[in-house]
């Protein structure tokens, strides 16, 4: 029971983010090989399809298929964009990739540019991680100086340039079309789809957007082959995945494991439960994913299909662990506040619904819940789902539905008794989110 590292392999040394170190670890071999062999874009996309690589940002869409949507015959610039706007609560893997292995992202993006015939790429980096943004800019300079970016890369016909764009604090820009608006220098309000970015993306040109981890793993897939990558995971869930484990564990952190690893093993890698307390619930894929009780998650493996079958989603791989001392009402209240704060205000169901849900959660938490609040919460969540331009509305509704599905008795108790079902002493001892009620 241990990690299986691909992206995070051999990063124990000093200054692993420097190009020289990356090259020593086999970096840029894949790019050099496709240029020397004149590998066709179709071969590269075929390899990705064989690998069963699915997007690591949240939706889990097959990467090879996504790349194949880019129009081949299009005359004019096409773009490739990396989504490093990592703001989904619980997720902190892309920051570590940019911090310790930025050249893997750069190589992956150059290969993507080659395979899709793009002229340029942008890496949109989360506002709160300025140090990583600066490091990525330095890595770009190294790659440029080595002739891996710019005109006629490595003496070939292929030209491609790559830049970093720094966000400044808006969760909704993690949504790909909100991100594109932001890249164009506007407020990040998502666009209605269709048209999809592959036909109308950045500056109205064909564009493909992938997550940092997705790009970072591309060079390895080219080197080891599609079958070998697939074999690291399980069918339809190829490869390894970085899980960001946070909350009530002894060793919060990033763990790269084979897709299909049992949750129980991942929990053990993270040092087990803090203070030896009992596991209560886990949000398996970032705060938007429905929460799962211990009894379900302990029998689940960590891959897209198994988590979906258990009633949640793998999302970005952010595993938020909560022990028996956690009041679920308090936990959901905080998440509801987040979505209320981050709604861009464009669609009425999300703008009004997130505020409405937060206000209800706030009054329940503060002993002022009303008898019909739970039915109303169900109703508001139900009426947000699927009725907004982007997924932020769904992301706000899903936690509410998940918490109410599995912990309805705790919410009902709060409304009826105006206090928590979880004993106050236990909360004080463990949860660290306890706030005195009286």
């Amino acid at each position: 029971m241990s990690e299986t590292k691909v992206i995070l392999a051999d990063l124990d040394g000093e200054r692993t983010w420097r190009m020289a170190d990356y090259v020593k670890r086999g970096g840029y071999e894949a790019l050099k090989k496709i240029i020397a062999d004149k590998t066709t874009p179709d071969e590269i996309i075929g390899l990705l399809k064989t690998s069963n690589l699915r997007g690591r940002g949240g939706a889990g869409f097959p990467t090879g298929l996504k790349w194949s949507f880019m129009p081949k015959a299009y005359v004019g610039p096409k773009y490739v964009v990396c989504n490093s706007d990592e703001g989904e609560p619980g997720t902190f893997k892309d920051r570590d990739i940019l911090r310790y292995n930025p050249h893997a992202v750069i190589e992956g993006m150059i290969i993507a540019g080659y395979a899709m015939g793009c002229v340029a790429g942008y890496n949109y980096i989360h506002g709160e991680i300025f140090a990583e943004y600066q490091r990525f800019e330095e890595a770009l300079e190294e790659a440029r100086a080595a002739g891996l970016l710019g005109q006629r890369i490595l003496g070939s016909e292929f030209s491609f340039d790559l830049f970093a764009h720094h966000g400044y604090g808006a969760y909704v820009c993690g949504e790909e079309t909100g991100l594109l608006e932001s890249l164009e220098g506007k407020k990040g309000q998502p666009r209605f789809k269709p048209p999809f970015p592959a036909s109308f993306g950045l500056y109205g040109k064909p564009t493909t957007i992938n997550n940092t981890e997705t790009f970072a793993v591309v060079p390895f897939i080219l080197r080891m082959g599609g079958e070998a990558f697939l074999a690291l995971g399980k069918p339809n869930n190829g490869g390894t995945k970085i899980f960001s484990v946070s909350g009530h564990v002894n060793r919060p952190g990033n763990y790269e494991v084979r897709l299909g690893t049992p949750f129980a093993e991942l929990l053990e890698m993270a040092g087990g439960m803090r203070g030896g307390r009992k596991l209560k619930a886990v949000i398996p894929g970032g705060s938007s994913a429905p929460v799962l009780p211990a009894s379900i998650i302990m029998d689940t493996t960590m891959d897209y299909d198994a988590i979906a079958k258990a009633g949640s989603m793998l999302g970005s791989g952010a595993v938020i662990v909560m022990d028996e001392s956690t009041c679920m009402v308090k936990a959901l209240e905080r998440l509801s506040y987040f979505y209320f704060e981050e709604s861009c205000g464009q669609c009425t169901p999300c703008r009004e619904g997130t505020g409405w849900m937060y206000r209800m959660m706030h009054r329940i938490e503060n002993g002022q819940g009303r008898a019909d609040d739970l039915a109303l919460l169900d109703n508001v969540a139900e009426n947000i789902m699927g009725r907004t331009i982007c997924a932020l509305g769904d992301a706000a509704a899903m936690p509410v539905r998940g918490f109410l599905k599995h912990y309805r008795d705790e919410f009902a108790y709060h409304i009826e008794h105006k206090r928590c079902l979880v004993p106050v002493e236990l909360q004080r001892e463990g949860s660290r989110i306890y706030v005195a009620q009286d």
Binding site: P77, E86, G87, E88, P89, G90, T91, F92, D94, R95, Y122, H126, G127, E128, I129, F130, A131, F163, A164, H165, H166, G167, Y168, G169, A170, Y171, S182, L183, E184, G185, K186, K187, G188, Y203, S244, V245, S246, G247, H248, P252, G253, N254, S287, A318, I320, V321, M322, T326, A331, R334, L335, F338, E341, E342, C344, S431, R432, I433, V435
Partner: protein, 158 residues
């Protein structure tokens, strides 16, 4: 008026985008302007807009949409504490309470001497290092125990 150094940095941002897409540089330009002026006044936003050849309203829309831009003056040191759920489970709220008590201010307040402003932040993508805080938007402070907070505030008070 922005300094020559800031304008040169903004030029570097502009050079990242196609020549007819200067507006793409507005986020970077506003960040650079805020670093120099410490906050974004209407005059500063107007200057950035005119430098990029874009409508002032469009630049103002951007400045008001992203929450790391300060449209009102802030203290010399802005401290933003993440209190979102993953951080809270590892002491984010406790850390925020400790800072409040230590500085004698609440969220969105500034100390009387103008040194410190405290803000509540949303996910900074560093939940494994909780509690986390940002100092003046650009410096991430990780694993902020009470002792760490004491030494941060002491350093910044000098």
């Amino acid at each position: 008026m922005l300094s020559i150094e800031s304008l040169r940095l903004i030029d570097r941002e502009i050079a990242k985008y196609p020549t007819d897409q200067k507006q793409s540089a507005v986020m970077g330009a506003l960040r650079i302007a805020q670093q120099e002026m410490h906050w974004l006044s209407s005059e500063t936003i107007e200057e950035v807009a005119s430098y990029l050849g874009m409508p002032v309203m469009a630049a103002y829309e951007v400045a008001s949409f992203y929450n790391m831009y300060d449209l009102k003056p802030v203290g010399q040191h802005k401290i933003t504490v993440c209190t979102n759920l993953p951080c809270a489970l590892s002491g984010g709220v406790e850390a925020a309470e400790y800072v409040k008590q230590k500085l004698g201010i609440g969220f969105n307040e500034t100390t009387a001497d103008g040194k410190f402003t405290l803000k509540e932040g949303e996910c900074m993508g560093a939940c494994g290092d909780a509690p986390v805080m940002l100092h003046n938007n650009h410096k991430m402070c990780a694993r902020m125990t009470c002792a760490q907070i004491d030494s941060l505030i002491e350093d910044l008070s000098k």
